[in-house]
Symmetry: C2
Subunit: 396 residues, 2 copies
Amino acid sequence: MNWEEVLAPRTARMKASEIRELLKLLDQPDIISFAGGIPDPALFPVTEFRQAYEAIFASDQQKLALQYSVSEGYAPLRQWLVSEMGKLGIPCNIDNILITSGSQQALDYLGKLFLSPGDTALVTSPTYLGALGAFNAYEPQYANIAATDGAGVAADDAKVKFAYASVDFANPTGRTLDLATREHLLDDAEKQGFAIIEDAAYQALRYDGEALPPILALDIARNGDIEKTRTLYCGSFSKTLAPGLRIGWVCAASAVIAKLVLMKQAADLHSPTINQMVIADVVTKTFDQQVEKVRIAYRARRDCMLQALATHMPQSVEWTQPEGGMFIWLTLDPSIDGAALLAKSLISEKVAFVPGKAFFHDGSGANTIRLSFSATNEDTITKGIKRLATLIRKES
Amino acid sequence: MNWEEVLAPRTARMKASEIRELLKLLDQPDIISFAGGIPDPALFPVTEFRQAYEAIFASDQQKLALQYSVSEGYAPLRQWLVSEMGKLGIPCNIDNILITSGSQQALDYLGKLFLSPGDTALVTSPTYLGALGAFNAYEPQYANIAATDGAGVAADDAKVKFAYASVDFANPTGRTLDLATREHLLDDAEKQGFAIIEDAAYQALRYDGEALPPILALDIARNGDIEKTRTLYCGSFSKTLAPGLRIGWVCAASAVIAKLVLMKQAADLHSPTINQMVIADVVTKTFDQQVEKVRIAYRARRDCMLQALATHMPQSVEWTQPEGGMFIWLTLDPSIDGAALLAKSLISEKVAFVPGKAFFHDGSGANTIRLSFSATNEDTITKGIKRLATLIRKES
């Protein structure tokens, strides 16, 4: 069989993700991994999950939990999200919420909703690798939005369909879009008629500073009503509760949610019924406490990593000061290649991280690396950063 | 916001599925529903599911179950599927198996893998509505393959990327592709260089007659090795165990599975970890017994519906004699429109079914309807068919 004859051209853009490949390293116990942006399983609310499954099987909901269900998602979970979104300055109702199989699936569906080959998607540079991966299937070109300096949008000639931005403590940089940038992005979107995809996967994980209003909240404040907005807010339970159930959501104008419901119906019918019911139970009982628990743990690890970087890194290295999330972003001396550094680091230092280049749509950023502090304890963070700094000093 | 300006042209083909809309009717207790092709929840192996969840939370696997996992799927489940596929005449290994979120997701991914706008997909007429829905997102045109008469493939000029066929007791007709048709389809695929998507969702639900080899098994028999085949086998646990966990699989040459793994990684990272672990536990303990239980129940319901049709329907009505699955397909007098009949039936007879037209890619089939016997007990089947026959007599 000659597969090349029948594969769609889009498949040429599907490449192995360095992040996912690197996840395999986590199985090696002697590696200190700052690589995968994964939550610490020690923080999962395991008891609440266990009790939620038990409650379903002890009730008359057990068959419902195993049966087909509607594409929109489990109504009590959507209703809970309506109330949560309200707390973020996003008044909405159940028709503004679609449950997805993780926010990664939301990115795939939004790419599918908007993009045809050659359309332009605006992204920050660097941006979330998984967003580029999801969008690539629909063969767009990319142009940059200014990330944090409030300078607004620079687009080229092709039709701009949307701007995608990870707004709080972004993967990979840890940076947060400031208020002026959020407003300027909305200005430009309104002027040019494009949509905004607001990736809020890390929104709840703020460790200090004041929370900024989501772009969707600013959009509602301008236009009076979620039905008149252009922003699609993508949320996730993967960073707060646990990623293994694959539950996220999109919150947006009901007209566009209705389109996404049809898309989901055709693409996988619905997210697993029992998973949605379990998440609905767990959030009701413990969401706020769970978020607080995660925040306390990750804040300490971030502080520890920042301290270790300040203590050990040579002056040529710069890094971000994230107010939350899971990531610190290092810019190395231009002579150092992140991928080559990783290869050496794995052998001589047994320290893993993600080379930054893959996060740039234009192939730049070879001298950047992403460090995650979420899944490693403080002693190990200190030890790992010290080792990495030793290697970087040698290479500089 | 003017969404029309930014939506991709593909979204114009995304329409509400009559099947899914009709699922809402099931909440009305006085409706006899032959509509949704859903399994009977009374047959779900609830105890085994409950025990599987309990076992995970009682073990050191609990955190693994809630964590991110690899895009390929949970290795023990893939390994079990290798052994099951072997029993069907499909020797393969773990690299030939991708776990998907239901076989509906497999259809979406295969559409994405092969189709660009204007490409041709060969389908039977009628065919599974959900396959047309999944493929439509990639904007193909459709042409017919001969369904059951062994007459081979008729394609038009556009590049044929694949033929899609639900092979055993197909949704919606209940028909099975005979051996000659399977071989002819392979002949034509080899001659013209296209792939075959074998939808085997109902494969295990045979009630009488002898099992036919899957097209993939015939393909292997011809070419000596799964790596040299062109057939992608899509399986599902939705009809045997339960659909609410959304777990299915694709079995195919490893080169194309590797492409699909990359696609899945970009589209939703992976199917839920805990769901895959639970399914792996349940199949190991009870798959064969569970399939036997389901077969016995559905066989009796099929027999009952066929008997009731023979007893009550007017001579102008023809129907299929399925050897398995969930569906019987009725062809009514050409003067009767299935959608209009449904509207009347819901009011005067309180009987629901699916009008057949939506299953035809060319808009024909207005005088056909699909009846499902899987989720209704025998008394209700007899009563419902009697009522429906009364209405059809009136309309003829």
